[in-house]
């Protein structure tokens, strides 16, 4: 089936592995490679260690062979010294931890009473940093005869109860995460009086992860932090580090409510990088069907693994991760590499399992890992040589982060992006120059999302009574306070609002989602045990009854989903298929806030229901069965962009009714994908739906592209504003697509879809819509 010219994929090449350089040469010549980009090694820019730096810190630096600093490290140090808030944007492995450690150590050496709070987006990252910080702290202590080591402690859910007191009293540097700040530290701030009275630095690592819902929550946690610091009379400086995003300064400022200075010139050197853009070959030109990108990614990864080159494969969903683990285990089994050196890694694995995998990666026992975005951040997994991306991760920033995972320490690295057949992937893989030249995404947050704001106002009032004239994030929130008072949560006495509920509000608010529910997965094959967790929003599509739930490549059959108890009971099975949920979405306009021609922006109600599932066979991907489901509807109120097409004009299009509808659905599909490119957001952040108006003769056919979070996170308004660009690119994508009548890479394979979609677009472009 596969044309012989695709040298890289010839099985003969796999069986008789050539060297890496030759293999890369072959890969470059392959017809499947639509683009290749070479990034030469870059020499580091260094500057001498600043004169003002404490001599002991200098000694420790020198004892580690650091005679000079990267330019961005010196800049960060100097700006922090002068009292400002600093945001540093540099690639992975550019020594960004020294950017914040130097000013913090310096301050603590000057004033041992000073305190610093380091926040990492995940617990795993915290532990990764802890060891390193301890080493430095001990090295500093060994130089000082009179002082003890700088007190470095982690504070999270795993900190034993009896150690917490010591952390509060002795911790000069406290490593934690925003969730802990939200749930345990702020609501008990009197126990942390010492920290808050002396808090001089707040370090926010991996700033770019604080986007969307999570970022909107964390911005509110910082509003609460600001109130508490004010109560104790401290004004901490912020230092943020971030992977490359388009608006680091704006994001930092929006998150913390403070002005920032930006450092974006990295002085660190970089190893050479080979980037390949790989488009799976077309197997059916008429339908535009390509080989499965999952299979191709496996194939590429296998080629590297069989040469015993350590490889990380990124997948975009848990399901694909598990499928890839399964495929890879089976294919390397036949090769020189024992199969247990390929593992999966994703959220939902229990912490111990994850730690074991991280260790295995560091010491090289594990040569191949398939991961979701869980390994995208700075967790130290040692040096991997190759990154294979199964599908475009959805954002430019994520793509660079994932590609950066290869070659942290080696002299050369390779990254291969294997495109799926979605329009988004096809757009990127066919326009690699767009990707290379593209600004990365913006970190968009909406701290004023009403759901999020209400939650945090409750927490804030719990922490300190809320004065009647007090602002929250610069807003007058009197109306919300009155609303909460009517609901009996708070009560006004004199000039202040007080918390009046037995509940502990932070417990019911999760920073990671708008609703805080999680389902636990209970395995009942032998003795019942919990094997993982799934959040509420995806539980219905992955844990419905009769679903095949995949965990570490092992399949589990869901025999019961207890919605009330948030539990799914599963049994180990060995099936040759997996399941894919079918969902039904209904959108209703609540309020139209702006309209120009056919384009609208406003508030909508979205009802989302998982109505059934398909059984799909492994490897062949054929549909081998289906089932109906009766699950509760998930509803939300959010903001949306929508396009309305006047009924008469739509019906006057010269196509049979079925093809017109195919065109409408196809257009929605392509539009949603390209909206992500231009909004620079993750595909999951946007929902799309089509209302054909069939049930109601007075209704106009409508395409909705909405913020996929209750209350909205601020994406649909920018979409409304940049609609012309998005429509132009959508038209270009569909027109230029090589397929004859619609394929998964443009409007989807449905009869007449391509022509009909282009006809609808023409209506929009010619302004004939009114």
């Amino acid at each position: 089936m596969r044309p012989k010219s695709h040298l890289a994929l010839q099985d003969a090449a796999l069986q008789k592995p050539t060297g890496l350089a030759e293999f890369l040469g072959e890969l470059r010549k392959s017809k499947s490679v639509s683009g290749y980009h070479y990034i030469p090694a870059r020499a580091p820019q260094t500057r001498p260690i600043p004169e003002s730096l404490n001599s002991k810190i200098r000694q420790v630096l020198e004892s580690r062979g650091i005679e000079a600093l990267y330019s961005h490290q010196v800049q960060a140090y100097e700006r922090a010294q002068s009292g400002g808030n600093v945001a540093i944007v540099t690639p992975t492995a550019s020594g960004k931890t020294l950017c914040y450690n130097l000013p913090v150590w310096q301050r603590i050496m000057e004033n041992p009473g000073a305190r610093a709070l380091y926040l990492y987006p995940t617990k795993a990252l915290t532990y990764d940093q802890l060891d390193d910080l301890m080493d430095w702290s001990n090295a500093l202590a060994s130089l000082a005869s009179d002082e003890s080591a700088i007190g470095v402690y982690t504070y999270d859910g795993d900190t034993p109860q009896d150690a917490r007191m010591a952390v509060r009293e002795k911790g000069q540097i406290i490593l934690s995460n925003p969730d802990m700040l939200h749930k345990a530290i702020l609501p008990h701030h009197t126990k942390w009086a010492r920290l808050f009275e002396n808090l001089q630095f707040v370090i926010l690592d991996e700033l770019h992860t604080y986007r969307g819902v999570f970022g909107s929550h964390v911005a509110n946690v910082f509003r609460r932090l600001a109130r508490i610091c004010e109560f104790y009379g401290s004004r901490p400086q912020f230092i943020c580090t971030s992977a490359t995003i388009a608006n680091p300064q704006e994001l930092a400022e929006k998150l913390t409510g403070q002005p920032f200075e930006l450092i974006r010139e990295s002085g660190a050197g970089e190893s050479e990088k080979h980037l390949f853009f790989y488009n799976p070959p077309v197997v059916n030109a008429q339908l535009g069907i390509r080989r499965s990108y999952v299979k191709e990614a496996e194939h590429v990864a296998t080629a590297f693994l069989k040469r015993n080159i350590s490889t990380i494969v990124f997948a975009n969903s848990r399901l694909i991760t598990e499928i890839l683990v399964r495929y890879l285990k089976e294919s390397v089994e036949r090769g020189p590499v024992p199969k247990d050196v390929v593992v999966g890694y994703r959220g939902g694995y229990l912490p111990n399992e994850r730690r074991r995998i991280e260790r295995g990666l560091r010491d090289g026992r594990i040569r191949g890992v398939v991961s979701t975005n869980a390994l995208e951040l700075g967790i130290d997994i040692g040096s991997l040589d190759v990154a294979v991306l199964a599908g475009y991760p959805g954002t430019v920033a994520s793509t660079w982060q994932r590609m950066g995972r290869a070659g942290r320490r080696s002299g050369m690295s390779v990254a291969v992006l294997v495109a799926s057949s979605t329009p988004l992937d096809q757009y990127i893989v066919n326009h690699p120059e767009y990707f290379i030249g593209q600004q990365p995404e913006m970190g968009l947050i909406n701290p004023d999302n009403i759901h999020i704001l209400i939650s945090h106002l409750q927490c804030a009032t719990f922490e300190l009574p809320f004065a009647a004239n007090e602002l929250f994030g610069g807003h007058d929130v009197t109306e919300i306070l009155e609303y909460l008072s009517e609901r009996g949560f708070i009560h006004k006495a004199g000039t202040k609002w007080h918390w009046t509920s037995e509940a502990y509000p932070a417990d019911t608010v999760s920073l990671r989602s708008i609703s805080s529910d999680n389902f636990v997965v209970v395995e009942t094959t032998n003795e019942a045990r919990i094997i993982g967790e799934v959040d509420y929003s995806s539980a219905f599509s992955t844990l419905h009854e009769k679903a095949i739930y995949l965990h570490q490549g092992q399949q589990y059959y869901v025999h019961q989903l207890d919605v009330a108890e948030r539990r799914a009971y599963v049994k180990q099975v060995d099936s040759d298929y997996f399941t894919d949920a079918i969902t039904y979405t209904k959108v209703k306009v609540l309020e139209n806030m702006s309209t120009i021609d056919a384009h609208n922006h406003g508030e909508v109600h979205v009802a989302h229901q998982v109505v059934g599932f398909k059984k799909i066979k492994f490897f062949t991907m054929e549909n081998v069965g289906s089932g109906d489901l009766n699950l509760p509807t998930q509803e939300m109120h959010t903001t949306s962009y929508w396009l309305t097409i006047p009924r008469e004009q739509f019906e006057s299009l010269p196509f049979p009714p079925a093809e017109r509808l195919n065109g409408l659905h196809g257009l929605a599909y392509a539009l949603a994908q390209l909206s992500c490119v231009f909004l620079m957001c993750d595909r999951r952040d946007l929902g799309s739906a089509v209302d054909t108006g069939l049930e109601d003769r007075t209704f106009q056919p409508t395409i909705f592209i909405y913020d996929n979070y209750p209350g909205g996170i601020g994406l649909s308004r920018p979409l409304y504003e940049i609609r012309e660009q998005v429509f132009a690119a959508t038209a270009q994508l569909i027109r230029e697509c090589a397929c004859e009548d619609g394929c998964p890479s443009c409007v989807g394979p449905a009869a007449g879809a391509k022509e009909a979609a282009l006809a609808v677009l023409a209506l929009v472009k010619n302004g004939t819509l009114s």
Partner: protein, 445 residues
């Protein structure tokens, strides 16, 4: 101002303030005021408020009522921080709380009880001791939990004085804390029930939040929960104050006392309507807590000083003996253990008693008694390391018969042979056996 209005409306937040209320209906409601029990069961039936952003499903608040005499008789007191409400009550020296006469506190040996609990004595007279209990707006901890009623009790001579500091709304808290802080200055020791984990840190937090000096910094604190657990948990299970006062003090609360779990809701209801019949029950509950605490303290002092009777609950005797056995009064615990043993102890207390007695008798030089404990232990079904060790020590040291000691150890090791879970006893016995065998061999050679 209008920034969030639209969004709030989307949550179904329609203001109720404008809703007109039928005055006659309010009258009818007043004339048919529910009884305390009805009111409590109504409050209980209201869905518990869970703080979530989707707070729209809550039931309506109760209708507002005109001001009524809502509080027990007391007075409003003024401070530089504003005013608050105080209720006082005196209990004469012959007042009995259950079976305990409160006036006896002056002769109770509190120092001894505290010494047994390894507390440093603070040299306070009985008039410098204050009993304290708070009623709060929640149990979950955190700075959003407010003590709205603080009850304190102390002795003037043998008369027990009860003072309750109450806030009629949250803005009275600074005044209340100020008065409480001033009041506490005359005492040296504060006694609470679970105050180490709850009341004291809570009040300290409130003083911090009000930016007032923390009075507890200069006060010794004794939490009666700890001795209560040591003395009575084995024999009674629950050590909740309400359980112990019933079983030990024979004190039964009337139905005018609001159960603890209901208290926050009663106070919230009072705040909303400035009236709550149940609130009187909260004051009552607080008085009962403080007086029971004082009476239980007297009872606990009695327990560690007066001679126990053989008819006492064997588990309580055991508990008392266990409290004494690592103090300077360990010799006294021997009789208590024997008395407990005579009263038929259940396992595992029986074996624990034999083991402790084996050690105590040996320490007391009563080696034959110690050995007789060992024989009982070795005969028991459950393996006892102390039994075998004790017997080996007995033969080796007091009988000068290392060979019998070796036999005992070998029997013990045989019993452990098939028990993979008992690694540690096996190692210990084996080490002793080896050492002894070396010595025996050396003796022979």
């Amino acid at each position: 101002m209008a920034r969030f209005r639209k969004a709030l409306l989307s949550l179904g937040a329609v203001s109720r303030k404008s809703a007109t209320r039928d005055p006659e209906a309010s009258e009818r409601f007043l004339s048919s005021l529910p009884s305390l029990n009805d009111e409590l069961s109504f409050l209980r039936s209201r869905p518990e408020r869970r703080a979530t952003q989707n707070a729209t499903a809550l039931s309506d608040p109760l209708p507002a009522l005109p001001a009524l005499p809502a509080l027990p008789k007391g007075s409003v007191e003024s401070t530089p921080y504003g005013s608050h409400y105080v209720v006082r009550e005196a209990f004469p020296d012959d007042h009995f709380h259950g079976k305990v006469r409160l006036g006896r506190f002056s002769s109770a040996n509190l120092e001894r009880l505290m010494a047994l609990m390894q507390e440093t004595p603070c040299g306070s007279t009985h008039e410098q001791v204050v009993f304290l209990d708070t009623e709060t707006t929640g149990m979950q901890g955190g700075t959003g939990m407010c003590p709205f009623l603080v009850g304190v009790g102390y002795f003037e001579g043998d008369e027990f004085q009860m003072v309750q500091y109450f806030i009629r709304d949250f803005d009275e808290e600074p005044a209340m804390l100020h008065s409480l802080g001033e009041f506490l200055k005359r005492f040296r020791l504060v006694i609470t029930y679970n105050g180490a984990a709850f009341d004291v840190p809570l009040l300290e937090t409130r003083f911090t939040l009000a930016r007032q000096e923390n009075p507890f910094a200069g006060l010794a604190h004794f939490d009666m929960l700890f001795p209560a657990r040591r003395l009575w948990r084995n024999g009674h299970g629950s050590c909740r104050l309400a359980a112990l006062e019933r079983e030990l003090l024979s004190f039964v609360r009337g139905n005018d006392d609001v159960p603890g779990a209901m208290i926050p809701r009663v106070y919230f209801d009072y705040l909303q309507r400035q009236y709550s019949r149940a609130l009187n029950g909260v004051f009552k509950h607080n008085v009962h807590d403080v007086v029971s605490l004082a009476a239980l303290t007297i009872h606990a002092c009695d327990r560690v000083t007066s001679e126990p009777a053989p008819l006492d609950e064997p588990l309580d005797l055991y508990s008392l003996a266990h409290l004494l056995d690592d103090s300077s009064e360990w010799r006294r615990s021997i009789d208590l253990y024997e008395m407990a043993q005579a009263g038929d102890l259940p396992e595992p207390f029986r074996s624990k008693t034999l083991e402790t007695l084996c050690v105590l008798y040996r320490r007391n030089g009563d080696l034959d008694r110690s050995y007789s404990m060992c024989t009982q232990l070795m005969a028991a079904e459950e393996f006892s390391l102390i039994g075998y060790e004790g017997a080996a020590i007995y033969f080796e040291r007091s009988k000068g018969d290392p060979e019998s000691a070796l036999c005992v150890l070998e029997e013990g090791l045989r019993r452990l042979e098939h028990d993979a879970g008992r690694k540690r006893p096996r190692i210990i016995l084996h080490a002793r056996w080896q050492r002894l065998q070396q010595r025996v061999l050396k003796g022979i050679l």
